[in-house]
Amino acid sequence: MSSAQLEIQLIASLVAIACAIPGTFLVLRKMAMISDAISHSILPGIVIGFFITQDLNSPLLIVLAALTGVITVVLVEQIQKTGLVKEDTAIGLVFPALFSIGVIMIAKNANDVHLDVDAVLLGELAFAPFDRLLISGIDVGPKSLWIIGTILLITVGLLFAFFKELKLSTFDAGLAASLGFSPVAIHYGLMTVSSITTVGAFDAVGAILVVALMIAPAASAYLLTTDLKKMLFLSILFGVFSAISGYWVAHWLDASIAGSITTMLGLLFLVVYLFAPSKGLIAVMYREKQQKIEVSLLTFLLHLKNHNEENERHVNHLREHINWQKIRAKTVVDLALKNNMITIDNQIVSLTEKGDDFTSQAIDYIITNEDAQIEDMKDDFFLFRG
């Protein structure tokens, strides 16, 4: 592994961490699409900054671009405040307009300079190690490493300083406001950090793919935990893992590093989405199926409890009466038998004592909705776990 390769992986990992931290809060605050809007609308800021400084890595460029990001947020909020359109429409109107302005500015003025839309949107991590930062003639490492390192340091500093404020205002904005933390200040603080991170990362991974690094690790982590600290830790872990594995996939395929990092993020999310315990797709579908069977069981038991006549309790009649398919009826009857809730005597079904007890308890719960009565049933039944 050459030093350039090491540096690329280091930069990618730092970008991943710097994105994961604000990304977690954006996902929790239901503002994930704002990061997409910012990533597009910083383009005019970058273009103007570039015209002034003629240098894609100058700090002024970052400041101007971050400013455009914040302007986007303000514009979206102002449009939304008029009540003429919904928030998502406001987002969808603002960023393409700003982006178009950026594209037109490039087309009109930057014909002979090194700036094209692809460079801003897609970035090229592979070139990052060649742009060195020289301090009084001594090579101290790639420029983008320093930029993203500084941004990360600031982000982490802010995170530790304002962790409790962020946490509170994310989960209970009303309480935060009444305790005297200004939700507006925290909101704009977060927006500013997101803008700066987006800008700082754009020449490494490209502005659009910053969105992936912000949202995907946080979304994957959110499916695995409900603890904020764990979620932050997991998203950072996922981000770094995808950054490094993505680099090697790109190396192997000889393709865009940013693209393959995103693809790794996508695969990671897919795995978590399918297999996450209790919140993954498979777990959810299993739970829904169990609940469906248990509702059927309950219906069946209630029917038995309501009828004493033998002809109402005949196995064949049950199928007609509750209108179940053969297989479903068999599943339910088997389940009830296995749990000793019914006995079948000469094709006539009757409730056992246990089944009778169970049914009364379930009815009580459904009517009163008091949790205390069903504590002991929770272990056996998905239905009562909520």
Partner: protein
């Protein structure tokens, strides 16, 4: 170049005619379907779908090795649909919210598409150049067959829209009611979503992935301001969309170095801004004017009721009072006094004023609703 000359050029020049027609049709169809997206609060779906279509284009190219635009668009359609249904899966099956799902699918699909595109570029196949036109769109590459395709799809859209008009409408405004009436809401939902995806995919070649969402939203958002009627809104949105297409093409054709996509988006955004400000019912300007007018009326009422309270104490309601006693009352200005005179509620005599009979009656009924005269 003046307008007539330009129109003549549009009619005679093949490229310009194709582009103008193409962008106009595209604007019309996206505006039409965009109305539904906006009203269903799925505004950003367009953004997500257009990004999600990218890997489909790349895979279609990898499989067929040809740059035939219909095949590529088919790939885009398939991958756009997969993205859309995955978004729905994420929203319904997990606790992730719609914004996260949209952003996730958008960026992940786009990143994967970029991976494939760069992978293709490294392949020893001379044919691959030009795939990235789908990123930013190049209206200049439109040919007549593309326009025909757009026209056919638009016709199909229009037909389905008219056929299922009442189903779409009821689904839009009251989904639960539609369900209880026995409509298969799921099928209708899928139908309209698929058409939105189709329209977006059609536009990729012209305005590109990034700006497609604005084509979907802007005409609809502008049209929404002018009407509360769905059919009028759909019609207006189609008109706005088509007009932004034509106008944007005209601007970019008469200037150097202007790609059509961004210009169309800017034109559409100007439409939106204009509508936000100047629409008669919802617009900001008229809203502000109404607000000021209401405030003035209130002030006027306040003055009148103050006068009424003074006049009430006298036997003769027209008993004159000096203007001076109004001075320590806030609602009074020379202007309001003049207005009251104009309305014949008050008569002025030197620096004395007195209520008329009509003014007295209006004032006594001011704060109970029986007096219904428009103030």
């Amino acid at each position: 170049m003046d307008l007539l000359e330009y129109i003549e050029l549009v009619i005679n020049d093949y490229t310009l005619r194709t582009i103008t027609l193409g962008t106009a049709i595209l604007g019309a169809v996206t505006g039409m379907l965009g109305s539904f997206a906006v009203l269903r609060k799925q505004s950003l779906l367009g953004d997500a779908i257009s990004h999600a279509a990218l890997p489909g284009i790349a895979i279609a190219f990898l499989l067929t090795g040809a740059k035939e635009s219909n095949t590529l668009l088919l790939g885009a359609l398939v991958s756009g649909l997969i993205g859309t249904f995955w978004i729905r899966g994420i929203i319904t099956k997990t606790h992730l919210k719609s914004d996260t799902a949209l952003g996730l699918i958008l960026s992940l699909f786009f990143g994967f598409g970029m991976l494939l595109l760069t992978f293709i570029q490294k392949q020893p196949n001379a044919n691959q150049a030009g795939l990235d036109k789908y990123l930013f769109g190049q209206a200049a590459t439109l040919v007549e067959s593309d326009v025909w395709l757009m026209a056919i799809v638009t016709g199909l859209c229009l037909f389905v829209l008219l056929l299922f008009w009442k189903e779409f409408k009821i689904l839009l405004f009251d989904k639960d009611y539609a369900k209880t009436l026995g409509f298969n809401t799921k099928t209708i939902d899928i139908l309209i979503t698929s058409f939105i995806v189709l329209a977006i995919v059609l536009g990729l070649q012209t305005v590109g992935v990034v700006l497609m969402s604005a084509m979907l939203l802007a005409p609809a958002a502008a049209a929404r301001q002018w009407t509360n009627n769905l059919s009028v809104m759909v019609f207006l949105a189609a008109f706005f969309g088509a007009f932004s297409g034509v106008f944007g093409t005209a601007i970019s054709a008469t200037q150097n170095n202007l790609s059509t996509g961004p210009v169309i988006v800017i034109v559409a955004s100007v439409f939106v801004m204009f509508s936000f400000i100047f629409s008669p019912n919802r617009g900001l300007l008229f809203r502000q004017i109404r607000f000021i007018k209401n405030r003035r009326d209130l002030e006027l009422h306040k003055t009148l009721s103050f006068m009424f309270n003074i006049a009430k104490t006298h036997e003769n309601i027209s008993h004159p009072h000096t203007i001076k006693i109004l001075n320590n009352f806030q609602g009074y200005t020379k202007g309001t006094l003049k207005k009251l005179v104009d309305k014949n509620y008050v008569t002025l005599n030197g620096n004395m004023w007195s209520l008329t009979q009509e003014g007295f009656e209006t004032a006594s009924n001011l704060y109970n609703q029986q007096f219904k005269k428009d103030e």
